[in-house]
Each structure stands twice: as structure tokens, then as C-alpha cells.
Symmetry: C2
Subunit: 581 residues, 2 copies
């Protein structure tokens, strides 16, 4: 391909919208452009990367025995009402009406469509198991689209759905998909972790794992144990609490009978834990955070230590609630006695769920349920009842692994894949059924498996971003080799470039020739931005068939970034580099 | 691929919705399923056909030097307002609001997005010419979706957009796209015609051609001349009128001075041409049809002969109107003197555009502008003025070719491709500009080029439909060879099938093995429905490595549909058949 004919609008500066290193470079290298918030156009180089990722995903899905389909983007609202998700999904579901005012959703996933298909077409165990997948455009009206392709509103996804006669059969498919996902991420050159996860919105009755590409801009927190290899996302992570030395001292004090009394402290205009901590010069771990929730309409209180974060999924499970939302102003207004900002468990008059670590405190600082006042010396179990003690917080750094007791480590990740054991949630709700070997009617046991294809592009860009460009792995790079004549007008250089191009094409490689009449500095800068695995620079040495070669490999080795070679040596080098593509 | 693992829900009967032969077979062979009116799911076999067509389109676009991109489906309404199409496109444009109530359109085409891209990124003649293309999902809220994939509301299209510095450069791209389109349709095994067309809604300032797959269910009428090869769609077709023998007689009568007088005839409850024709026992060609239009708000009348159809595009051009609509009841109500059903040119009191063939009539029957009354013996040019005589009707069968005078022939076609010279319509409207060689600001000259990818699948199905199944051309068939053991339980048969499968796979072929425990009749019927190019049936002859072979080729030759061969001969035969894939 001649670069002069290719639309690659490189930029010296990234647009102001760019908020992550990979995103900035995708824009600067002319691979993508934003059309609206969270909605992007893929220009020719970006499209090539995306097609390469799609190809890898397709090959691995086919190898895992999945069947490719293509399901509609526009889905009748009635289907979503059958599964109960039409209201449940909330404002993230894009909705529209057709000319007959019939309601449709733009698919963010396809559980409903695929379950309806199975309901209509699959009625016997002899047709099970099978897995359908598709690669296509999805829509999700994110409240805060950001990081370019990482969290968009229109994006490319591979979604797959498996149907099995029983849980064992599902488990085999789940394992096969797990392996396929690992291969995909490895082939994409990603540094990733597979973590235990929580079923979240899609719902499900079995285990679920996420595949996380490690990156500082990742929006997910991963909890790992370096000792035993345990890895889970924050929502799901199990942990043992490690009581601090100070708590241990307090405990000893109490045992020695030296217990302080409850004191009222005037704390005007001090509402948050951070404000209180700085006002009293005490650490948040000595305080109790009192949070009010509406659980299926009932106002309840939840207590966690000041330095901990409440896990709403855990609280919801503890309460057995269908719906759990943080109480808003309207809900609080109906309880006029509540002093917002000064809440505490003493004399609150609501059902209270207490986190294990709060119950273990000897004494604590809490709100006094009176504007401008806090209490110190509050003793859990003495000054307020411990009717319901549960684990309702997230792990925190310093907590320990439940398996081996080592300290847990937190890292940031981008969720690029997610596999779920759905069970019969959708088949039950939508009445999909088949006759088993004994003629009994059964609900197929489903799994679902998603990979963010455009998000993979973003994650690769993020992990392979450098100061000057993205070093694309050979497997997904838009071309294999960048041929850069120092001067395209120089006849000897042009001749050698065209010879090299032909030889590389003959070997099945994809070659980009910078045939533009630009200064060498401009060409080199653009080549760095575009980031193909190998650069061959043809300059003055052309007369003796000498070239300079640069590659990701050389750059990573930290040695001189380019080496001098004959044209033939360069071709040999390229073939060695590329063969693992 | 093992058929037992593939989701191919074949049907003995087509669903009631199916309204064309190809559509019925696509449903019966389990390739597609309807989700909502005009919205289809592609099941595994259908997806494979679609992917094959996509591959052919992509290869030919790349060969023509186009660059693949991927542009968003969701497009901000503001862009469509810039081009003026947001209102102009009407109810066929699917519209929605995001969570911030911002308006979006679901792209039916991408002129706006691509012109905005060029406006932002292309500012010099050195970056021209270039052509961008994409293959993706499009939306159009058809009033009457039908014939399955032929006229859907969600469909797959390849759209391309070229940008050139001048009209000559555009012309070269246009010719290259023209050739690419011919190759695509040939490779898809389609019988097609390239016809002159009218620019229609997309608008444009230059020539435009349509590619029509010939089929009885086609919604377009193609006008051709067998003598000289002229071909155009009905809207665009040029013609010479052939006056009938009766008209000639009348003309002679008039020349002889024997002219009849204008007579009033009572015609109670007779309003349409058909009713009048039967009431008076006169042919429609002796009558004048008077149609009222609102041209930019002005009520005007247009006259065509009773047996002719008015061409609104021609009338609009004649009037130089921005907007032309048939006058509705509301418009007519404001002219209370108009007797709807009994309109005529005599004493009408409106501007009148007269078709050439009406002007040539010696005498005619028309409405009397009075309820229940018609006039006979009305003489154009005498009883009403011929201020504006123009060609405002479509060609009719019997008309003659303007080039060679031979009678024109009408056939039906499916519009599968369309190429346009847009000119600067969009670049002007949206302010895209570049600096030419002399530093002058110019608008890029654009072309656009569409192929209905899912419609190609439908057109192929339509042309290759038989009583028992679709005979897919090898280029797009979901698999190359269908291996059908009469009994999968028979060890010798199974062994031979597996050997044949391996040998065919080794030769790079795609093989479907019917490993189901079904009766042979069921397998054969399904195999006919699926319609792979070659069937190899392994039955009792398996012990001597004998097989029976059937193929489209044999079926078309009309000889016996299957031949007996050794397994090795069968492989040789297959390789010969498939090599032109």
C-alpha cells in the first residue's frame, strides 16, 4: 500500500478529549476519530487493526466449535419485557420507536433474541449442546463514556451463547470458552489476568470470570494474592480482615477494664469521614460510616468502618432484596428526625446491618443523630445492638488472602472479556424448553460469553503505548513492514524500495510504503506513531543495497534502535520476526 | 463440520410470511429467521453465505484501490441538518434520543459522516483522490418491508464514497467502481443488467447507474432494447412514442375536416379511467388523465394519456420545483370548484403541463370539471391551450428505442447496486474544501457507491431457487461439499465418509458431514434444501469404495441427477468443480 493514497491524518498533538495514553495515540496516529461522545469512526489503519482482532476472535471461536450467526441490532421491546430487562436495564438501554410507534431496543447484548430462537427451533436433547456467537455492533448509553474505545456508547463486541442439556455439559463449554479466551488475549499480545467475578446485571446462577487487561487507566480494581495466585475483582474478592495494631491495643485496654465513656462532641459543619478525620485528628479506621439504603422500599442502615467501602452487592444479598438503592433526599425527607451528615447507630430506630469489622471495634466515633454533633467512645454491642453482623464491605489493601493469609495486592484492569454460567434464568423466564432422553420437558442450561472487540484494540493500544507511538504486536498491526525511503525522489532509493516491497509481498507480507514527498523527520515521526513491527529505512546506502532496520524487538532490547543490514539480511530478519504472527 | 452440531432448523413448509421463492427457501433451509417485520437473524448457514458475499465485495473493493473504514451507525442529527436531509429523508430515517435527549439518526447511508470527515481531515489536493468503503448494518424504516432480505429495515450494505479534485478524477474512480461492481456480481453468479438511472433521494449532479439482478419479484422495471443494448430503469428510460393505428385514423379524419364536436356525457359515479373505459367501451388511450400536484405549494395540473403513467421526477424537473406532491384532500378542499374524479383541462383555471402524447391527440375524452359529467371530442390546442408541452410520462410497452427505433422490452429487476456521481452537493452543503495546486479553495467532487450485501444474498437465492432448494453458486455456498452417509451407524460407510472428509479438508475444501441418525429421505431432502454445489452419497457401495455423486452441474445438464464413481474419482470431480470458486 502506498501511504500517499491512504487516509492517515496524523496529529502532532492529541485532541483535548483524549484522556488515556492509548487513546491519545489512536487519535494522533489517525486510526480513529470521534463523531460524538463515545462514538468513533475507524479510519483505514484503525479498521485494519480491528479486522485483525476480529479475525483472531473468529478463528478461536470456530476452533472452540462455536457457530457464527448474525442477530439483529433492533430488538422488539416485547422480548425484553419477557426477560424483565426492559425496565431493569435502565437508561443505558438505547430505545426507539419505528414508524408504527412500536418500541425497540438497540441490543447491548442478545440473551433475549438467542433464547427466543432456541425456544422456537430447539426442542430435543439431540440438538444440544451448541454455542452461537456473533461479532457486531452493540449499543449502551453510558452515563460517562470515556477513554475512547474503552468505554464507548457504540462498540464492537463478540458475544456468544451456549445451550446445554445440563450443568455438566455447560461446564465443558465454559471450560472450552475459558481456554479460547486465554488464547485470544495471548494472541493479541495482552498482559491479562483471569479473575473471579460477580454476575452483575446480566444475572446468572453459576460461576463467572472476567478477563482483565492490566492497565493504570483500567476502571476495575483487581485483588490478587502473589503467593497463591488468587485473583478476583473487587466486588467478588474474598479476604480476611487484618486488625491494626491500634485496634489490638484498644482490645487489650478493654480487657483490662479501661474502657472510655461515650462522649458528645460538637462538630459543626463536619459531615464526611474525611472532614471528621481532619477535625478530630483521628484516623478513619476509628470511625463508623452509617449509610442508609432503600431495600425494596424499606429504609435500612448499614455500618462499615470509616476506612472501608460498602459492597452493595453483598448488602443486597444479605438483605435478600430485589432492589437496593442508596436513600435519596426524598426518602430521607420522610424521616424528618434523620440528621443527614450526622447519622450514627445509637438510637437510630432502623434495622441495622453491621460489617464484621465494625462489630470487632472496641470503641468508635459515630454521628450523634443530631445536627452538628458526633459521639466518641461508642462500643458496638454495648451502645448499640449487633443484631445482624455480616461481611458487607469490599476488600481493602492490607487485607489478607483467605487461602494463604498473605497480604492482598490491588491492581487496575480493563475488563476485556467476561464468561458467565447463566443457568436457566433466561430459558425459564422466556419459556425455552426441550425434551430430554426420557421425554421430560427441561429448560436448557445457558452460558454467555462476551469479548469487547473494540475494547481489545484500546487495551492493546494502552499496554503498547510509548512516548512516540503504539508498538502494535505483529498479530494485529495494520501492516507488517513499513518501508521508508529517505527521499522518494531519489531513483536508487525508490528502486530498492520497490524491489523490497515486491519481495515482501511475494512472501505474503503486508507492506506500507511511505511514498510521500515529505521531509525524513516527518516520515520517521509518522512511522513511530503508526508503530508497525518493522521499519526498513532506505537512504544513501541504497546504491550498495544497504538499509537501516528498526523494530519493536530492537527498541525493547534497549540497544541502538536501528541496525545496518543488506536488503537481503533485512528480509531474512523480517521473516524471522513475523513468522510468529 | 458435523451437521448434528450445526443449528440448521429446516422446515417442510415455509412460514406464511414468505412471499418470494428465494425467501421461502432461505427460511426453509434454516438460513434465516424473522425477528420483526423486515428484521432478520442469520443462522449459521446463512451467516456463512453472507460472509462469503462480504469477502467477495471486500476483495473487489480492495482491488479497486478503496480503503476500508467503519463509520458509526448512530449519527448526530446536527450533521443531517447540515446536509438538509434530516427533514427531507422523512419517516424512513430511524431516529432516537440519547439519555441527554440529544437527537440521533441510525444511518441509512453515510454521506454526512464521510463528508464531515473529509472536511476535518483533507485540506490539500495532494491527499486526493481517495475512496473509503465500509461493510456494515444500515437502517431504513420501510413502509412495506417484504421479500425477506430483499427489502428489510435492518440490512447489510457496502457503501463507498470517493473524493476527487475534479470531475475527470471522479470519472476515473466511477469507471473503476463500475468494473468492480460487474466483477462482484459475476463472482456471485448473478444474471444482471447495468442500467441508466435517476439520482433520486440521494441527489447528485452527474450520471448514475443501477445494477439490476433480473428476477420476477424485482420491484424495479427495467426498460431494454434487444437491438442496441440500451438499458435504463423506468424513471430514467428515454423512448419514442409510437402512435397507434386508431390515432392515425383520427388524424386523417381531422385533416379531411371531419372533426367531431365537444359533447357532454353524463357519467354518474364513474371516476377512474378504468371505470370510464368500461362505461363508454372506449380504450384508455382515447382519454386524458388530469392529475393535480402541489409544486412548492402552487396547485398545478398535469395531463397524460389514459393508458400512460405520469413520471413525477420528470414533472418536478419541468416545473423546477423543490418539492412536488400529489395534491391531497386538504389542498383540493381549498379550491371548492374542483370536481374530484371529473377533472379535465377545459376551463380548469390552473397552470397545465401537457404530455407530448396528449398534445398529439386529435380528440379525447376528459372530465368536464362538473360532478358526474365527462366531455368527448375535446381537441388539444383548440379546446384548451397547449402552453407547456413536455415529456412527463414513463415509457410504456410498445414505445420505441430512441437510438435504434426498435420496440422497448420491459423486465423486472432487483436493484443490488447503485453508483452515483454526487458532484459537490454534499461538500458544498457541509463546507468541505481543499486547496488545489494553485492554492485556490475548491470543493471536493464526490461519488457514492452502494451494494446491498444482504440483498445480494436474497437475489442469489431468488435466481438459483428450484422446487426443492437453492442451488448456491460455489463462490458463496456455505460449504463446498455435502458428505451424506445413507446410514451413519454403518461402520464401513462412516469410515469412508471420514476418509473422504479428511482428503477434502486437506485440499482446502469446506465440508459438511451429515452425521445425523435420520432416515435417508430426510437427509436427502435437507441436502437439497441446503443446496451445496456437490453431494457425495456414501451407501452400500462403501465396501468397494464406491459413492454416488450429485452436483448442480449434473442437475442442470438434465441427465440423471447422480452418477456412480469411486471415492477417488469423486474427489477429482469435486476439485474440478470447485477450482473456479
Amino acid at each position: 500500500m502506498r501511504q500517499s493514497e491512504l487516509l492517515v491524518p496524523t496529529l502532532r498533538e492529541a485532541p483535548a478529549e483524549a484522556d488515556a495514553a492509548g487513546h491519545r495515540l489512536l487519535l494522533r496516529s489517525g486510526m480513529i476519530r470521534q463523531l460524538a461522545a463515545g462514538i468513533y469512526s475507524y479510519l483505514p489503519l484503525g479498521r485494519r487493526v480491528l479486522l485483525n482482532v476480529e479475525r483472531i476472535v473468529r478463528e478461536e471461536m470456530d476452533r472452540a466449535g462455536c457457530q457464527e450467526v448474525l442477530l439483529p441490532i433492533m430488538q422488539p421491546a416485547e422480548l425484553w419485557e419477557e426477560s424483565g430487562r426492559y425496565t431493569q436495564y435502565g437508561p443505558e438501554l438505547m430505545r426507539l420507536k419505528d414508524r408504527h410507534t412500536r418500541q425497540f431496543a438497540l441490543g447491548p447484548t442478545h440473551e433475549e433474541v438467542v433464547t427466543a430462537l432456541a425456544r422456537d427451533e430447539v426442542n430435543s436433547y439431540r440438538k444440544l449442546p451448541f454455542t452461537l456467537y456473533q461479532i457486531g455492533t452493540k449499543f449502551r448509553d453510558e452515563r460517562r463514556p470515556r477513554f475512547g474505545l474503552l468505554r464507548g456508547r457504540e462498540f464492537i463486541m463478540k458475544d456468544a451463547y451456549s445451550f446445554a442439556a445440563d450443568w455438566d455439559e455447560l461446564d465443558r463449554t465454559y471450560q472450552a470458552m475459558n481456554s479460547a479466551y486465554c488464547r485470544i488475549l495471548e494472541r493479541c499480545g495482552l498482559n491479562y489476568l483471569r479473575v473471579e467475578a460477580d454476575a452483575g446485571t446480566i444475572g446468572g446462577q453459576g460461576e463467572t470470570h472476567e478477563f482483565m487487561a492490566l492497565a493504570d487507566v483500567g476502571e476495575d480494581t483487581i485483588v490478587t494474592c502473589k503467593q497463591c495466585g488468587y485473583a478476583a475483582n473487587l466486588e467478588k474478592a474474598a479476604f480476611q480482615s487484618s486488625l491494626s495494631a491500634e485496634h489490638m491495643e484498644e482490645k487489650e485496654e478493654r480487657e483490662a477494664g479501661e474502657v472510655s465513656e461515650v462522649l458528645r462532641i460538637a462538630t459543626p459543619d463536619v459531615r464526611t469521614i474525611a472532614e471528621l478525620s481532619s477535625f478530630l485528628n483521628k484516623k478513619p479506621e476509628h470511625m463508623i460510616k452509617t449509610l442508609l439504603y432503600l431495600a425494596d422500599g424499606e429504609l435500612v442502615a448499614a455500618l462499615v468502618r470509616g476506612d472501608h467501602e460498602l459492597n452493595e452487592i453483598a448488602l443486597k444479598q444479605v438483605l435478600g432484596a430485589e432492589e437496593l438503592v442508596l436513600a435519596d433526599e426524598a426518602a430521607l425527607a420522610s424521616h424528618s428526625q434523620l440528621a443527614v451528615g450526622y447519622l450514627g447507630p445509637v438510637g437510630l430506630g432502623l434495622r441495622i446491618i453491621v460489617d464484621v469489622d465494625v462489630a470487632a471495634m472496641q470503641q468508635a466515633i459515630t454521628g450523634a443523630n443530631e445536627a452538628g454533633m458526633h459521639l466518641s467512645g461508642v462500643r458496638p454491642g454495648i451502645d448499640f445492638a449487633l443484631d445482624r453482623v455480616e461481611r458487607i464491605r469490599f476488600a481493602a489493601e492490607g487485607d489478607r488472602c483467605v487461602a494463604c493469609g498473605e497480604p492482598l495486592v490491588f491492581t487496575k484492569g480493563i475488563e476485556v472479556g467476561h464468561i458467565f454460567k447463566l443457568g436457566t434464568k433466561y430459558s425459564d423466564a422466556m419459556g425455552a424448553a426441550f425434551l430430554d432422553r426420557n421425554g421430560r420437558q427441561c429448560a436448557p442450561v445457558m452460558g454467555c460469553y462476551g469479548i469487547g472487540v473494540s475494547r481489545l484494540v484500546a487495551a492493546i493500544a494502552e499496554q503498547h503505548a510509548t512516548e512516540t507511538g503504539i508498538r502494535w504486536p505483529a498479530s494485529v498491526a495494520p501492516y507488517d513492514v513499513h518501508l521508508i525511503p529517505v527521499s522518494w525522489k531519489d531513483e536508487q532509493q525508490q528502486k530498492l524500495v520497490l524491489e523490497l516491497e515486491q519481495q515482501l509481498l511475494d512472501r505474503g507480507l503486508r507492506v506500507l510504503v511511505d511514498d510521500r514527498h515529505e521531509r525524513p523527520g516527518v516520515k520517521f515521526k509518522d512511522a513511530e506513531l503508526i508503530g508497525l513491527p518493522v521499519h526498513i529505512v532506505v537512504g544513501r546506502g541504497a546504491a550498495e543495497a544497504k538499509v537501516e532496520l528498526g523494530s519493536h524487538q530492537l527498541a525493547l532490547s534497549g540497544e541502538t534502535s536501528r541496525i545496518q543490514l543488506t536488503a537481503q539480511e533485512a528480509i531474512t530478519y523480517v521473516m524471522e520476526q513475523i513468522q510468529h504472527r
